[in-house]
């Protein structure tokens, strides 16, 4: 297992390098002069020059690129052009809030989506199956922010079950209570994805020869589904969870803004408003790392579920 993880870890290097290069280029070719944007139109030429010099904007592109890579290799994402705080520090400060939101969403997706998908597969073409298929279709075509607003109107304002504004502080109970609504609204898309995958994976697996073998052994239904079929169906389900975990972090931005929660979302909006290019660049690099890490974890999860994976 350790060798397998190491090999997967090494194979992420080219991906990361590619992503870093793209981020670097994107920030450089984006319209607008950072110095002008930050210091304002009225800034004196000396002030502008001094700023450019300090930020290394006068260096040739390749020097800037190498500086950028060198910084990352040292674990630094640079400093904010506005406040001078290291970008990584600002990110790490709010990251737990975003992660808990994304994890909460994945949690809802998995604990609601998997059983529903399996039930739909077992009662294929029954009323439950049709209902769930319609619901998941609607769920997928519904913008996440709309679900969030509907949930607020309904559960927070009408029924007063949850707070409208999610303040992630206090004890673990308070924190979970505040997390519930945003995580649910973000997780509903995940529910739809996981449900569909679980349904089709389960249907595929139930048609396999080894399920027939298990029936021929006299295995009862429960064991057939939960032991023989589910273990195999988990393989595609894990993929989808990994794939959409990245998406959840992206979508968390909107959810955070709607629920007025601290997190990467607020950080991004602030950086955008202030034209804080270095923070934006750091945020992009960081999300790229996050996605690659999630993929790595997904691969490791594969290795745990499917004995064949380690060989490849």
């Amino acid at each position: 297992m350790a060798g397998f993880i190491l090999r997967r870890l090494l194979s992420t290097i080219p991906t990361l390098l590619g992503v870093l290069t793209i981020v670097f280029v994107m920030i450089r070719v984006a319209p607008g002069d950072p110095a002008l944007a930050i210091l304002g139109d009225n800034a004196s030429q000396e002030a502008l020059d001094a700023f450019r010099e300090r930020m290394g904007l006068n260096d040739p592109m390749w020097v800037q690129y190498l500086d950028f890579l060198r910084g990352i290799a040292r674990g630094s994402l640079g400093e904010s052009m506005i406040s001078g705080t290291p970008v990584l520090t600002s990110i790490l400060e709010v990251l737990p809030y975003t992660l808990e939101l994304a994890l909460g969403a994945v949690f809802f997706g998995v604990v609601i989506g998997t059983p529903l998908g399996i039930m739909a597969a077992l009662k294929r073409n029954g009323w439950l199956d049709y209902l769930l298929r319609v619901v998941s279709l609607v769920g997928l075509s519904f913008p996440a922010f709309l679900t969030a607003i509907l949930l607020i109107l309904w559960l927070a304002i009408d029924w007063r079950l949850f707070p409208v504004i999610s303040t992630p502080t206090g004890g673990i109970g308070d924190r979970l209570y505040n997390l519930f609504l945003p995580a649910l609204s973000l997780g509903l898309i995940m529910v739809a994805y996981v449900m569909r995958t679980a349904r089709s994976a389960m249907l595929d697996v139930l048609g396999e020869d080894y399920i027939r073998t298990a029936r021929a052994k006299g295995a009862p239904m429960r064991r057939l589904f939960l032991h023989h079929a589910l273990r195999n169906a988990l393989i595609p389900i894990v993929t989808v969870i990994g794939l959409y975990f990245g998406l959840m972090i992206g979508n968390a931005v909107l959810t955070e803004i709607i629920f007025n929660r601290p997190g990467l979302g607020k950080l991004i909006v602030l950086a955008l408003n202030q034209r804080d290019y270095s923070t934006l660049q750091g945020l992009m690099v960081f999300s790229a790392f996050l996605v690659v890490m999630v993929n790595l974890l997904t691969d490791i999860a594969y290795g745990l579920v499917d004995p064949r994976v380690k060989l490849k």
Binding site: K217, M221, N232, R308
Partner: protein, 320 residues
């Protein structure tokens, strides 16, 4: 022959729904399975051998419609409740499938898969069942059993997997073992080994084997009795020696002509034409389109004659 049959298949029919029409894939097949015998079910591809075999344990998908009766231990397999069936499957009747590469669960260890029927039916704990699984691997001649038990199916060759399937089948010492072309997916030398193994175990342990194959060479070596199927019909059944000496049905004769024989009584040639698809079965005798002896009577379906050597053919009414 005074022994009572272990299993009596009476007028078994199997239909599938294809394009809003029920198509009969097996058409009123009857045979007995006697204690301690090897019954071979032969016929070309698509004649309904596998689905007949699977019906003996009611393993066909829910989309199949079954008719007739399968008597076992005074009860009818086809109508018994699922829960009761689960106490028979794997314990008193076991089956080895045609596809060794896909019939084992890829995410479970070999040990767990062999131990499972013992846990399900013999009330053993997993530790005890795994110890027993070790003996079963010895029985099917898989060396290095301890290591094999911990491996996953992908780590095993086709021949090994089929032996594992046999070990699973034999785990609870069933009365009937159904082996559906257990060797077709394997190469020739392994084929012979697996078949010899099955025959040896049958003689040592005393069980009945239903062996499905379209290899008549295999049949000649191991069968006590043979049932020949054609397009969902049982067309001839006889003790093995008699069937090879005096094949009666035109299809059986044609089938035997496809096998190279030492005495060269027949020239070697394949049967012309193909097995009809279940969606377009001929009226009357289903073999008529390919039969050299077809005549007017053959436009209505012939019945199976009675007796130990039974034939379904209008031209063979006189066979004893």
């Amino acid at each position: 022959m005074t022994a009572t049959p272990l299993m009596t298949v009476e007028d078994l029919s199997i239909s599938f729904r294809i394009e809003d029409r029920w198509c009969r894939a097996v058409n009123g097949v009857s045979f007995d399975i006697m204690p301690d015998e090897t019954l071979c079910l032969v016929g070309e591809s698509g004649c309904g051998k596998s689905i007949t075999a699977m019906s003996l344990m009611r393993l066909l998908p829910g989309s199949a419609r079954l008719g007739g009766r399968i008597g076992f231990d005074g009860k009818d397999i086809l109508t018994m409740p699922e829960a009761e069936l689960q106490t028979i499957r794997g314990r008193r009747i076991a089956m080895i499938f045609q596809e060794p590469m896909t019939s084992l669960n890829p995410v479970l260890t070999v040990g767990e898969q062999i131990a499972e029927p013992l846990v399900l039916h013999k009330g053993m704990g997993w530790a005890e069942a795994k110890r027993e699984a070790r003996h079963l691997l010895d029985l099917v001649r898989i060396p290095d059993a301890d290591r094999r038990l911990r491996q996953y199916p992908y780590e095993l060759s086709g021949g090994m997997r089929q032996r594992v399937m046999i070990a699973i089948g034999l785990a609870c010492r069933p009365e009937i073992l159904i082996a559906d072309e257990p060797t077709t997916a394997l190469d020739v030398t392994i084929q012979a080994q697996v078949l010899a193994l099955l025959d040896e175990i049958r003689r040592e342990q005393g069980l009945s084997i239903v062996l499905i194959t379209h290899d008549l060479g295999v049949v000649a070596n191991v069968a006590d009795r043979v049932a020949v199927m054609y397009a969902g019909d049982l067309v001839e059944t006889a003790p093995a020696g008699e069937l090879f000496d005096k094949p009666s049905h035109p299809y059986t004769q044609a089938l035997l002509r496809t096998v190279p024989r030492a005495d060269a009584a027949f020239d070697l040639h394949p049967i012309e034409g193909q097995v009809p698809s279940i969606q377009s079965m001929p009226e009357g005798c289903r073999f008529a389109p390919r039969c050299g002896e077809a005549h007017a009577a053959c436009s209505s379906p012939p019945n199976l004659s009675s007796g130990p050597h039974a034939v379904r053919c209008w031209a063979r009414r006189d066979v004893a």
